[in-house]
Symmetry: C2
Subunit: 165 residues, 2 copies
């Protein structure tokens, strides 16, 4: 078998717009936020909700910075309450009691993936608003994934389950 | 349901050592290499093969820098030939003709995941040594994942298929 690099392969088509949103607690690092924006945009996500200053590094977010609508809110709890009213399942990414293994979690199509801070994770207040928490198995040091790496894995798993939107 | 953050949850146990290796073509960025090292180490990978200078950023790679054996080689083709003799399936991560969708690819347990350069990807010479190429579906701008993001997704998929090694 011989393989030839295809540099400008057309992207996949979604049969309907993605009903996946990403919600970010205040992150320490604009680099991580920018990486999340690029990965989410590649996955066809069109909306990201966050708080605080959202200065993206465009060398990292690339065209994702324009392709995704980034909404900055003063605080997240009212945002989560509104998403709940709109029928989103609020799914946090964290190691908690009662969390599901990402390998076995079935994402509802209409999911808001809620991402915590690099150091402090999801606060008890944010956790109290969630329907589910998923965690990614870890087998080795340093026993925790970088936040943007973990988000990429969760985005991948959602898209695997909903390849056409 | 209430969720409580568990900061020091014990990692999963492998029933046998991971037979997954990561092989990196020369990368432009030590940041990307360092991110790959942290993610691979979290996944229980114990060996990473690369070429050229491998100055890790320990703030990024964290304890992964010590937990993974990093072997630097002058050039990759002889390394790939040796891995082939040792029974590894050489699986590249790239957009090519004849590539498999990562969503549907069944990884052999004994896999060497081969990662290309950020700009140039896997060269024709490296591609000619591979058994398989997998690519990750992309739906939106900028139509390509960052190399460390793509590697994280591939590591996740391998571990999903081989959760206990």
């Amino acid at each position: 078998m011989s393989f030839e690099h295809q540099r400008h392969k057309p992207p996949r088509e979604l049969a309907q717009p993605r009903e996946l949103l990403v919600v970010c607690a205040p992150l320490r690092s604009n680099v991580n936020l920018s990486r999340i924006v690029r990965a989410a945009s590649c996955c066809g996500v069109s909306r990201l909700l966050c708080t605080g200053p959202t200065k993206l590094d465009r060398k990292i977010a690339r065209d994702g910075a324009d392709a995704i609508a980034i909404e900055s809110h003063r605080t997240l709890p009212p945002v989560l309450a509104e998403l709940k009213r709109e029928g989103y399942r609020l799914v946090g990414l964290e190691q908690t009691t009662g969390s599901h293994d990402l390998h076995h979690f079935e994402f509802p199509r209409r999911t808001a993936l809620v991402i915590g801070n690099e150091r402090t994770g999801l606060t008890p207040e944010l956790l109290s608003h969630l329907h589910d928490v998923v965690e990614i198995p870890v087998w080795g040091m340093p026993f925790s994934y970088n936040v943007a790496t973990a988000t990429a894995m969760a985005l991948y798993e959602y898209c695997r389950q909903w390849p056409t939107g």
